[in-house]
Subunit: 345 residues, 4 copies
């Protein structure tokens, strides 16, 4: 029996090549087509030497596939996806074009009117830890952003349990690959190396996505401050989330820490790609794999909850999670092709 055919639209960014790497190594599907405008006509291995083992030529247009991953930029992604939806192809969209449920957010945060607002409710937000069931039967899965994946997984158990107040601070630190392969001074080695800075203080595009999901989890009047920082490394996001406890809902001191830890362990006990750690996690321990590590604790002096999460922004934060979603959509074991151990050091 022939394997399920998979295509990648716009393979030439970092999410695209990471999809190619992982899909080529996936035992149950076959990567049959990759597209890319500037590279069309070239062998994939000529553009990306590390992919020389994949015998594909970059195409200008998607061929016949069963599942398509879109790694197009926002707005263009929706445009390329719409005809595929009509053709009945299953879609995992790496862009933000189907993440927000409220079409009115697109002009504000992304500067365009959504071309198919009626599809927003049909698309499923591709965070398997929250929407596994829906993903399994979805045609369009909106793969979450890297920051939102880390932030939502860090906060979900606490919000669901009703133990934190809606005032939440999310301080995130990201490696440079999260900003993509496009050229800008922001990603010039000499500018980033030996540097750290906050950015997007007037509002990062991942904020409405985070807020939407925290509300769905039960947070009323979410009052979220999100500050991303760029740090001199290639891969990895570490998020430190701060929240005030709801009085009477969680004990103080060591007892509270133990309760909190148990809450998180229970919440994620069956999750193959979330691990609740015993000490503050390191992004290095997720380098190249699909894990999200989470460490919940309580500040002994102030009673404040601190939850730290980390992941590889190109795997659990992009291509790996996309494949996790595809596995669910195809009825495959969720971990297929994603079992690899992080590469350390």
């Amino acid at each position: 029996m022939s394997k399920t055919k998979i295509g990648i639209i716009n393979v030439t960014g970092y999410a695209g090549v990471e999809l190619a790497r992982l899909l080529h190594q996936h035992p149950e599907v076959e990567l049959t087509c990759v597209t890319g405008r500037s590279a069309a006509g070239q062998k994939l291995g000529a553009v990306f030497p590390h992919l020389s083992q994949i015998d594909l030529t970059v195409a200008a247009k998607l061929g016949e596939v069963d599942v398509a991953f879109s790694a197009m930029p926002h707005k263009e992604s929706a445009e390329v996806i719409l005809p595929l939806v009509k053709a009945g192809i299953k879609i995992v969209d790496i862009s933000a074009d189907f993440r927000l449920k409220d079409a009115g957010e697109y002009p504000r945060w992304y500067g365009f009117d959504h071309p198919a607002p009626e599809l927003l409710s049909k698309a499923v937000y591709g965070l398997p830890e929250l929407y596994r069931q829906q993903i399994s039967s979805a045609q369009i899965v909106a793969n979450p952003g890297c920051y939102p994946t880390a932030a939502i997984l860090a906060l979900a158990p606490a919000i669901k349990a009703g133990i934190i107040q809606p005032d939440i601070i999310i301080d995130s630190k990201s490696g440079v690959s999260g900003t993509g392969r496009s050229l800008s001074l922001t990603t010039h080695f000499s500018e980033v190396n030996e540097d750290v800075a906050a950015y997007a203080l007037s509002g990062h595009r991942h904020l409405p996505e985070i807020t939407q999901e925290l509300k769905f989890l039960g947070l009323k009047e979410a009052s979220v401050t999100f500050v991303p920082h760029l740090i001199p490394m290639t891969r990895g996001i570490l998020t430190t989330a701060y929240a005030s406890p709801v009085a009477g809902k969680i004990a103080g001191g060591e007892k509270g820490k133990t309760e909190l830890r148990k809450l998180y362990l229970d919440f994620y006990q069956d999750e193959p790609f979330v691990s609740v750690t015993e000490s503050p996690p390191h992004t290095k321990h997720t380098w190249g794999n699909n894990l999200c590590l989470i460490y919940p604790t309580i500040d002994g002096r102030t009673g404040r909850l601190i939850v730290i999460s980390c992941l590889d922004n190109l795997v659990k934060g992009a291509a790996g999670q996309a494949i996790q979603n595809m596995n669910l959509m195809l009825g495959l074991p969720e971990t297929t092709g994603l079992e690899s151990i992080a590469i350390y050091p």
Copy 2:
């Protein structure tokens, strides 16, 4: 007339060599003696080739000097300083041994009983922006920690003006040199490179120092959560501080941002080493010099104050500030020997 004679006790750490670099280039003083146990008897340039221009031999014991900088570890620093105090020598202590006013904090945070609690009230906390007058006439100046310098300067104007509530979150990101030159897995290149993690979640030693000073600034019942993170760069600290506004004390929206910015500009208008920036600052813009850059803003959606500060942890966070203090103690212009521009890129 001969120049003021300066000695460095324990030159062999990163703060020590940075003191040597800056003092050698200082036009009004003369570095006449450097000590160090393991390196005693060797030429300074043999141990640290970048200091070959300084013609000194590392001594086992301090010679005759007018001012001594102690870069000894805590506890040992107090021990070596006490006889110097009796001898009337002016001291700038880079260690934490004279930073905390309450002797009772030393056993708790540093694990030793302070040998001279009576001196704690005489020692002046060496943050010139807050204690310029007292530093000028002090015999012992306790040079602030790197994290506290960034945090206190970020928050001082807001606290003084009474516009923020006592619940404060300080999320700091530090380069590796802040943890010193001692060997540990934590500072092994292969472990730190391509990694970020939080540490000291049960309480970093710089927390009581920060809390003490925020209280002196007027914050009642300070409820400070401080989470330091180690990031893969050598120099630099960036601190992102979050606080809730006191109702009615600061406007919302753009008006509030403007008011806040004016408040900070006014507060620091005469400060030679604090610069209020127009956009989020980069540690790279302080690389090697004594500036602290501060960017205060208001989160438009939540009304929360966000203040970002950054500095070079070995200069304004250690050796540079120590020399700034020395200048004040000697009646020299405060900027003497500290005017150099940051090295970019």
Copy 3:
């Protein structure tokens, strides 16, 4: 049928954990035992969080296994291996203890008398591209050093073809993980970051290993200068080798380049882990996998041969090649468990 049982002696260095990562993912063998002195009694995942998926406790002593990898330091490795040899266990030794054929070299380069010189001729140098046949039937395989692997593979085709003179210069650039996980100022992040330097100019221990193999390949009176350099990255070795052509043996100009390239392509045409590239290779394109990339060319102005090779020092330069050897020793397809694509970026 039960899988072949594998043990790792001294799992706690970088080669050891990389072996554990790769062996755990190997479909045909089972990692049943890992030893380590300091970590004995602890869960492997407690010492190395990225290995949490491996359910093993670090043992003080090796249990019953079919194949043992020794990642002990030199001298100690031979001591621990000798009883295993007697017990008939197959061994892949990551240390240098069985690499040199001449026992007299050990006192000179490694400072100890070899405890079992009679085994040196039985042990096979584990470079499958040169010794595939012998490895298949060996009991002891001496896994090559990281620098020698890159250097020998770069030069083998040219030497075999008799086209270069014996005066060879090998200029190598290595990431920091090659120096191991032990603590030293040399590997302190703040010392290595933003730095490059040559080291071991009076003779690196990998030199006799390189020279031995180049002679076996046919180089008479090998006159090799080898200068290793440490550069600020974690993984990767890049070697630039320079040699003068033998007159009349290779054309000049573009014709010579083409001939040379064909020579290399032919030599390595059946090799699964050597790839002759069309442009100067990047270590990044081997990050985490078992490939050695080689680019041979001729300096158009001087006629000199330049061959550049690169690999991941912990994979093809250590653990990956060790498993490649194990596959051969067990009669498994050579690429089993080693097919993964390099992780980029």
Copy 4:
């Protein structure tokens, strides 16, 4: 008396801003004008925050100055310089436009016909260690390239003494800032970090410059192979040069090493910015200052000379050397404004 007025043409590259930093701190001259096309009209500190202390607006056109530094790209530099030459202004050209004496080399290496070949013989190659006298009375000084500075200083004493043969290999490792501030994938953080590769194997533009100077030093039929490598750091060049000794001209073994070292010490004994080191030098020990460190030795096994040199490519390799030249041209002490110690770590 008013200070000498200095202008920088095209301040917006890395060499340009480094000139601005150093000239602002120079006690004997005044930086009065900086030009730059894209940034014209903006405050220098708005474009480069680390230069906020310099109160200048970027101009579109050079104002009245006594000395002009051109940091324009090649070809454009000559065009902008020619009218200044006629106006009698002293020029230090950071570009390559006046480095090569043979106008015929420009079409071949730089792709343009030199607009003023008659000036090539009047321009002086700005390596003070070789051309101090001529620089003092020159109107146009051609500031050397970063690679040539390191390579020529490494080889000059040996060539002058006639102890090496003309077959020379120069293997250089450079930080990323050497390739400039322009955007390209080559300098994208995610591409350079954790990577090393050779480049320009078909001939780097600095090769004719190196060859020209080695010939002037007395090397007949120079047969130079030059291979530059890009490594993941911002500043610094390390060059490892290899050459065969002329029989009978230098002793072998330890005696030869001592003789060689003495030769180098003598050659550079009066040089303020060249230091002959006792062990292989680190680029880190020149970070931010104008030193070139040189370590000459002999490979004990092959008798081959190995000379390692390093410097900061933006200081001694560009802006610092340019100011050293300016000092000579103005009759100032050569070290004025360039005395600062390297910043470590």
